[in-house]
Symmetry: D3
Subunit: 132 residues, 6 copies
């Protein structure tokens, strides 16, 4: 149970309902996940995040699957269950199989390891990594 | 200055030197970055991490550039300067341009945002995201 | 179930019971939350944290509601469910409504986003922000 | 030195320049901080974040100083120097004195402490904190 | 339910089964915890992590109980329930009592507190702490 | 330069000076590190943290070196340079050599790795780890 009351479609203001409708159309689904119905408790945040995510997740230099895997990497580093499960579900739909997920987890784990060892030893940045 | 003395090639034991040599051959460079010369203060860790990184970063389902970008996503989430700069340098060599880096940063930022809002509201995981 | 046995009022030593009594009097409640009954497994920590929290949460330049909202911001950033729920319950009692909570979440989300983008690009601090 | 080239006003596209101009007008300053000139390397992110921050930081239920202090709490929890210094500078302008900053730091420190102890003992959420 | 299917002993490839057998022999148990059966979905990660953990957790300058308590400190800082519970169970077997766990939690809490206050005030490192 | 003015011994109030004097006596040093002179900007926090750290770091079930190493583990996980350097300097004085530090870093790195992989796969806690 979230810490605010979720806004159901039936009870939504026209502004909130417009976001829900756009979400279902863009994503091609017939349900609005808990995340969106929860942040709808604050409509300007709902609208801003939906517009932002549409922009950020649109295909560009990075394809949608790569973007979902980056989202999983961030979410695993932060330990956010909702985020891990929703982005994993999305990545699965886009073709991520067990082998790919295994490589992703291996990379995420390895660099969380080295990040903390580098902190622990306070390694200086090499000149060669400083760019021009 | 790191919190241990870095091990220079000249002073390295044969075991450490073997890792340095393999590193330079595999990466095609003629220098050993500070990270490796620092963790060489504990040779079993040096050897274990080098063998591990070779395995993890080898091409597989994910190509090397995607792996470097995932490493950047993890490192930006953790705030590790050394890690961000070294993986950014590596990704640049593999073809990451400003536009691609911009999309990567946008994805990293967005999902750090949503991760924390989801924590803050304690959103429940949707059944649809729980897999079969 | 916590990883140590909680200390119930009936089983508490006089030292622990004195903290429980003070807690219920100061907070005006008739129950001692799980947090306190858990850390009571180590009485010096119980006493130190209770005295510390009384000092830190007393009204000062910042009013109690603002302090609870800062606690929520910290707890959402760390992803601590117990902490988010207990501070949200406290903030609600002090008058936080959905609109206020929505603004709080928006601020918490936004700056977690910018924190990580700033890490990712390694932005230098402007002279103007360095103080005198 | 950031990992991308900052975009100076003189070199900026009209789209980027419009954000810079709006920033300076809204904030009443005559310079554009490094953060904005860095993310300008990816114009859609520049525009999205500036529009978002204007929305999030506008006065509402929470006043601007409270919002800046929440931003400091998030940034201190994440350890982002740029963020801590820029939001501290902003909060100072809005009236935060040493005493207020001291209380803010005390709250931030205390709840980072309790967050981690609560994780460490795996304390269960009390029914009383679960809302209705 | 994890995001991949766990690999049961009966269904395991010889490579995975060899790790399970070695795990049970080294640890002197007759079951393979969920962690190992989950990462077995990616056999090279299973093998690498098991070999790594055997190396890292072997007695050396630090005894096994100290290593488990360090693992608890890391896991409490990250908020990983599985990790906290599994390392606490291991530390208990090695002799950690409530009093010892209480001291461990006190240290973990205190330095998470000071870490974030030090970030918040941006305290400079003293010359005396920089080593020679 | 910290975000508040440090309080020098000459300028300190009797209350602050008493903490400085006690610090130097207990630690057997003739200087007060930047951390203490910074938080002295808020005297109640100075006094509370000093009394707390004296309690937490006193020898008990865990010896002082073990406590310093746990502090390093926490600080490396959080990436706090000041904290890593000051606790490493303290641990060195108490006898931590390169080999011991190397084992500590190996443990810290390994469990940051497994913590995040466990998050990423959302591994369920085994019954056997839940205690009685």
């Amino acid at each position: 149970m979230p810490t605010v009351k979720m806004v159901e479609y039936e009870d939504a203001s026209p502004e909130v309902r417009a976001v829900y409708d756009d979400f279902m159309e863009v994503r091609g689904t017939d349900f609005v996940p808990n995340f969106w119905r929860t942040i709808a408790a604050h409509p300007p945040t709902l609208k801003r995040l939906w517009e932002g995510i549409k922009q950020v997740m649109a295909p560009g230099r990075l394809d949608p699957l790569t973007k979902e895997m980056i989202a999983i990497a961030v979410s695993a580093t932060n330990g956010c269950e909702y985020c891990i499960r929703s982005h994993t579900a999305a990545a699965r739909k886009l073709g991520m199989d067990d082998e790919t997920q295994g490589e992703l987890m291996a990379v995420v784990g390895m660099f969380n390891q080295t990040n903390k060892i580098i902190f622990g030893y306070q390694v200086d940045v090499d000149e060669a990594f400083m760019g021009d």
